[in-house]
């Protein structure tokens, strides 16, 4: 059987709006991925734990609170501590342009603003995962 791509979609932080995250989760399912949706108010430790148990290839974060420069690196660090440093991390939300290079340098590879067409996210995932053939 062909290997299925598994994606964890999570909302770290305190804001309680998960409509956008759910839309992306559904779009990723429709693109043929197995999407594990974990809901709102997730701590970085909870996200890393779920990513480990579910053995996902991708972690997608939705952060609308403006706290992305704090939360996203914390998730990355928590994943590294679990030995999951090869997981592709995506971030969606209202992210100022000047933050993007810093985030990417921290290993948050894909940063997507609100209203990004989901096929673009799908394409990004497929490209990123296609390269390192293990």
């Amino acid at each position: 059987m062909k290997r299925k791509i598994r994606v964890l979609v999570a909302k770290p932080g305190l804001d309680g709006h998960d409509r956008g995250a759910k839309v992306v989760a559904r779009a990723l399912r429709d693109a043929g991925f197995e999407v594990i949706y974990t809901g709102i108010r997730q701590t970085p430790a909870m996200i890393a734990e779920a990513a480990l148990q579910e053995d996902v290839d991708v972690v997608g974060l939705s952060i609308l609170s403006g706290a992305h420069m704090v939360l996203a690196p914390k998730v990355k660090q928590a994943l590294n501590e679990q030995g999951m440093d090869d997981v592709l991390i995506l971030l969606g939300g209202i992210i100022p342009d000047e933050d993007v290079p810093t985030l990417q340098a921290m290993g948050i590879k894909g940063v997507f603003g609100p209203g990004t067409p989901t096929p673009q996210i799908v394409k990004f995932i497929l490209q990123e995962l296609a390269e390192p053939v293990t």
Binding site: V35, Y37, G83
Partner: protein
């Protein structure tokens, strides 16, 4: 690669037995993806399994299964029992993708090293789903989890099959799903060891309980007979249990969101567990399961072998001939078997 030892059979097995959760997660993926390591892993772990009590939680969509699992697992943890959870959701037949959302209701269990939760998509495999689920259960069992809870949506035959992997099956009902008796689907009585009428804070819970009890009074079919249909391996079963040891499924009212009735439900599950062991039925179920499993694997193995030997061209030609009614399917298969038996020896 950060963990080269998790790429080999020996590395994965020893890490799993040492309690490495990443190894556990990786092994489950190997089995789900049916990689080259899947069979050797299963072979290595099989002798270590067999200790866990396996609990199936099934019921219509939205009845509160995940919330119940969250509550049950929390109580088991208070009793210092480790819990492995498998939450199965359907794969979309259109995209092949799946949206697995059961973890949302299980957040109380986060951060507890005595709990491991895995979401699983059905992946639309032909009859292989029950086997894949059974294999993942076996891995959690070998990893040392003392209670394994498997959540499935009770709509199709495959979910019923998954439930048959469990020792104790809890069927979850909720009031207000329309006509109470209608809601209690055919087949459910046969697989239920325990009923939970969840959302008992809602109108109509008592009516659902009554409807269930009435149906149960009409007589409980012997599930071992029902599971015995079809062609089985000719096995000698280890017991004929005494007729006075009949189990009558109890009905519990629960409010999962408020953790009401959960400890009673858990007691019921443990009571059923003790009953299975004391009556010898646990052993009987293991035997039936082994017989089914062997038969299934034998069938698949032979099928793969014969088809590989024939080759796609010959298969296509025969399919065409049968479709055109130039030959009937029984004679066709006879010819295939003959061709396989007379294959050139290598």
């Amino acid at each position: 690669m950060a963990h080269p030892q998790l790429n080999t059979l020996a590395g994965l097995v020893s890490a799993l037995l040492a309690g490495n959760r990443r190894a556990l997660a990786r092994i489950i993926s190997h089995i789900e993806d049916n990689t080259a390591l899947a069979q050797p892993l299963l072979a290595a772990l099989y002798p270590r399994a067999g200790q866990a009590h396996i609990i199936g939680i099934t019921g219509a969509p939205g009845t509160g299964k995940s919330t119940l699992v969250n509550g049950l697992a929390g109580l088991y943890r208070q009793r210092r029992l480790s819990v492995g959870i498998i939450a199965v959701d359907p794969t979309s037949p259109f995209s092949g993708g799946a949206l697995l959302g059961d973890r949302v209701r299980m957040r109380d269990l986060a951060g507890d090293p005595g709990v491991f939760i895995r979401s699983m998509a059905t992946r639309g495999s032909l009859g292989g789903l029950a086997q894949a689920t059974a294999d993942v259960i076996m891995v959690l069992d070998a990893a040392g989890f003392e209670r394994i809870i498997i959540e499935t949506v009770g709509v199709g035959q495959s979910e019923v099959e998954i439930a048959s992997t469990a020792y104790t099956t809890v069927v979850v009902e909720a009031p207000g799903l329309g006509d109470e008796v209608q809601a209690i689907k055919a087949g459910v009585l046969e697989i239920a060891d325990i009923f939970a009428v969840n959302k008992a804070d809602r109108e109509g819970a008592d009516r659902t309980v009554m409807a269930l009890k009435m149906m149960l009074n009409l007589g409980i079919p012997d599930k071992y007979q029902i599971m015995h249909h079809g062609r089985m391996l000719p096995v000698t079963l280890p017991l004929a249990s005494a007729p006075d040891q009949q189990w009558i499924p109890p009905v519990y009212k629960t409010v999962a969101t408020q953790k009401q009735g959960i400890s009673e439900l858990l007691e019921g599950i443990e009571e059923h567990h003790r009953y299975l062991v004391a009556s010898g039925r646990r052993q009987l179920r293991s035997h039936l399961r082994a017989a089914t499993e062997l038969r299934m694997i034998l069938r698949d193995t032979l099928l793969d072998r014969v088809l590989a030997e024939l080759g796609t061209a010959a298969i296509d030609a025969m399919v065409h001939a049968v479709a055109q009614r130039q030959i009937d399917p029984y004679t066709a298969v006879k010819q295939w078997v003959a061709a396989y038996n007379h294959r050139p020896t290598t």
